[in-house]
């Protein structure tokens, strides 16, 4: 189709990864903190207690600081599909563009319209209208997550479309299949609940710090009570949605699952690795043990993936080289079919242009017979289908490990809060403080798992990233990459400093009531 410059692919990936990772520092907190703020304001409206209004305003102030930089880093994400992935925009824009547009219409306007009321409308609208606005901001933020994750879920598990050889693109055939893609829903629920966990950690960390400093004690205790209750509830939910999400990965993206677990050779009763150190010298087909050290639970992976201790879980080598016993087609066979489809499409277009109906029809038949694996036709080697295994493995295990710790932390804090002993256990308070950076790391690790684990695919099995880029000079992308890196880092420094200053000032100044 066109010459693919490897450095262009790398810079385009790097820029998208950079902007997405920066954006994802801020979004989860917004997703969760909007709900926590709405809950606090609801208590204020129900009780009429001005103290809750002050508490609401304090957390709302921090939300605004975070929200602003979330917008700043977010606008680029949408337009980058055009600027850096223009082939992608054409090849799947017919499907992918729809959820993005719906996100704008249903979510962004709701957020931006009611955000102004939430912050500036305290004396301009009634109490209940203000509360409604706060809830609408929370709902709008989460609706935004829904639609973007429907789009992302579709990239991981494309459904509801067919390839139109005349337009040389994938076209939507079933809107509802795209909307109700099971991959999207597990992803959505897991992602938003992880955002709620992070927001709970955020409130707990700041409140714990106040308790350690023996200041704003009443405020901190009440905030911790709300956050720990909310946090425990949503982290348990997060655990179940994570299980669902992993099962979707097992069904639709077996290579990602194998990479998440460092499973090179498939087996029945596959173990799940709770902790492990990968051997960095491990390569495909070298028959070496992938792990230097590991602690694993026998049958765990089979159970979690397929609800059976004996279920067969394919490994990386099975998927790359095929496994006849388990009817797994090799990547090279898929590549052969894919190349046939790519060639047939070219022949079809040329024959049609020349008015050769017979040849066009014959080429179309060949194309239809092989189009299922067209994406593989653009790959250079079967080994290209393997993502970066160590990065995927460690990211996944970091996410799961930290997530498990958060559940324990919420239980401890909630218990100590209810027995009014929290302030006496300084180590718990310090754990509360230090769990916040762990929460951010877990968030980023989750996205690294999801996005690195599906490489080399922009659209799973359909479109490799190399075919999706814009046809521009890699130097241009390199320039903008560094511009983003510098600008976003500068803004992040400002954000952290402002946030820290506001936290240091504390809730007393949050309102003049």
């Amino acid at each position: 189709m066109h010459h693919i410059d490897p450095s262009l692919i790398d810079w385009s990936r790097a820029q998208f990864a950079l902007t997405a990772l920066y954006h994802w520092i801020f979004v989860p907190l917004t997703l969760g903190l909007t709900f926590i703020v709405a809950i606090m304001e609801t208590i204020y409206v129900k009780t009429g207690n001005a103290w809750w209004k002050k508490t609401t305003k304090f957390w709302m102030g921090l939300l605004a600081i975070n929200f602003a930089i979330g917008l700043a880093t977010g606008i680029i994400m949408e337009f980058e599909f055009g600027t850096n992935w223009s082939n992608y925009s054409w090849i799947v824009g017919d499907i992918f563009g729809a959820p993005l547009a719906i996100e704008g219409l249903m979510a962004f306007f709701m957020e931006s319209t009611f955000f102004a009321v939430m912050f500036f409308g305290w004396d301009k609208v009634s109490k209940r209208t203000h509360l409604l606005s706060t809830w609408l901001v929370a709902i709008g933020s989460n609706l935004s997550a829904l639609w973007i994750l429907i789009a992302n879920g579709w990239m991981q598990h494309p459904v509801g479309m067919h390839f139109n050889p005349d337009t040389a693109r994938n076209e939507m055939t079933d809107f509802w299949a795209v909307v109700f893609n099971p991959n999207a829903y597990t992803k959505f629920l897991h992602t938003i609940s992880s955002g709620y966990v992070l927001a709970s950690l955020f409130v707990i960390a700041i409140s714990s710090w106040y308790l350690l400093k023996k200041r704003d004690i009443q405020f901190a205790k009440r905030s911790i009570m709300v956050a720990a209750s909310f946090g425990l509830m949503v982290s348990l939910f997060n655990l179940t949605t994570g299980d669902d999400a992993a099962r979707q990965v097992a069904i639709n993206q077996p290579m990602k699952l194998a990479s998440m677990e460092g499973l090179y050779k498939g087996k029945k009763g596959a173990e799940i690795v709770a902790f492990g150190l990968l051997d960095p010298s491990k390569t495909l087909k070298d028959n070496k043990d992938p792990f230097l050290v590991k602690f694993a639970i026998p049958g765990g992976l089979s159970l979690l993936s397929y609800h059976s201790f004996d279920a067969y879980v394919p490994g990386i080598e099975d998927i790359v080289y095929g496994n006849k016993t388990h009817h797994i087609m090799s990547a090279s066979e898929k590549m052969q079919q894919g190349k046939k489809a790519v060639d047939a499409l070219k022949t079809y277009k040329e024959a049609k242009k020349a008015g050769n109906v017979q040849e066009a029809k014959a080429a179309l038949n060949v194309f239809e017979a092989n189009s299922k694996y067209m994406g593989y036709g653009y790959l250079a080697s079967p080994e290209q289908t393997v993502p970066n295994v160590p990065l995927t493995f460690y990211a996944f295990h970091t996410m799961v490990g930290f997530g498990t710790w958060f559940i324990v932390l919420f239980i401890i804090i909630l218990y100590l809060t209810m027995t009014n002993e929290l302030h006496a256990h300084r180590w718990v308070l310090w754990a509360g403080v230090w769990s916040l950076p762990m929460g951010y790391i877990a968030q980023e690790a989750g996205w690294i798992t999801a996005e690195v684990g599906r490489q080399p695919w922009a659209i799973q099995d359909m479109l490799p990233v190399g075919m999706a880029t814009s046809n521009i000079a890699s130097g241009s992308v390199m320039i903008t990459f560094w511009m983003f890196a510098i600008l976003f880092t500068a803004l992040l420094i400002a954000e952290v400093k402002i946030m820290a200053t506001q936290i240091n000032i504390g809730p007393k100044e949050a309102d003049h009531v």
Partner: protein, 376 residues
């Protein structure tokens, strides 16, 4: 309901929605215009706070309109999204950088510990309000004058210049279009301040801006409108889809669509009435006729750009690569599905209007800004 429409009608419907979004965005750029007027209208810190806080309650709507404009284009005309954004790379990136720095500027400007100081964030607002708008206008100008791209038989596009869109600034029409939007944004900002702010000196300076800058805008507008009506346009044969040059294409489009010409005329007159009210009367309502005028004028210009078998994004490198609403649109199925979604548009507009009325019931004063603990 939408199933009954022909594919061309669906494409026209989506072009209309895109046009309307573009028009609403141009109206909402009064926020950017206001940012560019920060140091012109405000001479004290309190006055600067009033201006920033007045705009700060609306800036996200403008921001969202831009994002929505992009989203609608992606969903309905993905080949434009792919070709223009992926080709005129530097121009769009420059625009995006201007909007990234705006997004933090309001919230961070007055916050203690903001690292770079209040002035830096005001400069961010100024850059967004001036360079950001001029660049957007320049990019919109290329819809009339064209871009250097080629679309191949697989509908994949590439740009043919190494400057990736920056060459647009060498075309006087494009730049004049950019500056016209810039002055329009400043004028609508002045009208908005007159409507929303209660501060005598800001209002007095806003009226002075209207008196002088209206003339600059009018000269630019006459040049741009005159150029559009007399320039060569690109037409295509609806049967063969072959693109060819047609002298005075846009004038012919007005002749072929008198209703659109009527909308344009009403829009221009309404805009002029708004400007007159702001500059030469004591009325504070000039923003409304001007706003209606902007929306009608921009919508009508977008319609003559895309309707009546016109290539709305001509290719200067290969005329047959030019984009039309027919060759760049989403599939019929997607357009129908998205048309049902578009039923939500009046609902969204409805709650925006309701909230706008509630928030603008009383004018913004120095007291309100100073006493608001969350002020920007």
């Amino acid at each position: 309901m939408f199933n009954a429409l022909t594919t061309l009608q669906l494409q026209e419907y989506w072009w209309f929605l895109t046009a309307l979004l573009a028009a609403l965005f141009v109206f909402m750029t009064f926020v950017q215009g206001g940012q560019s007027l920060l140091w012109t209208l405000a001479k004290t810190e309190t006055q600067r706070d009033i201006i920033v806080n007045t705009l700060g309650r609306k800036w996200e709507l403008t921001f969202t309109s831009l994002v929505m404009f992009g989203g609608a284009l992606f969903a309905s005309f993905p080949l434009f999204y792919a070709t223009s954004f992926g080709g005129a790379y530097y121009v769009w990136m420059a625009i995006l950088f201007c909007f990234i720095i705006q997004a933090v500027a309001y919230e961070y400007r007055k916050k203690p510990g903001n690292v770079f100081g209040e002035k830096t964030y005001e400069v961010f607002l100024f850059i967004n309000g001036s360079l950001g708008i001029i660049l957007i206008g320049t990019a919109l100008g290329t819809l009339f004058t064209g871009g250097h791209f080629i679309v191949n038989e697989m509908h994949l596009s590439h740009w043919t210049t190494k400057t990736y869109g920056l060459e647009a600034v060498l075309n006087f029409f494009n730049v004049a279009f950019g500056f016209m939007l810039f002055f329009l944004a400043r004028l609508s900002a002045a009208l908005y301040f007159i409507n929303a702010v209660d501060d005598a000196s800001i209002l007095s300076r806003a009226r002075t801006v209207l008196k002088y800058e209206s003339w600059i805008f009018l000269i630019l507008f006459l040049y741009v409108a005159g150029s559009i009506l007399t320039m060569n346009g690109y037409t295509y044969d609806p049967q063969t889809m072959v693109v060819s040059v047609e002298p005075m294409k846009f004038l012919h489009n007005f002749e072929a669509m008198p209703a659109v010409a009527g909308i344009f005329a009403v829009g221009v007159l309404s805009l002029l009435a708004g400007l007159y009210m702001g500059a030469y009367t004591q009325s504070d309502k000039g923003i409304w006729p001007a706003g209606v005028g902007i929306v009608l004028t921009v919508t009508s210009l977008m319609l003559i750009l895309g309707y009546n078998h016109t290539a709305y994004y001509p290719s200067l490198s290969d005329m047959q690569s030019s984009l039309t609403i027919e060759n760049s649109a989403s599939s019929r199925y997607t357009l129908i599905a998205m048309s049902y979604v578009s039923i939500l548009v009046p609902v969204v507009l409805g709650y925006i209007i309701l909230v706008w009325r509630a928030m603008n019931r009383e004018k913004i004063t120095a007291d309100e800004v100073e006493n608001d603990p969350h002020h920007y």
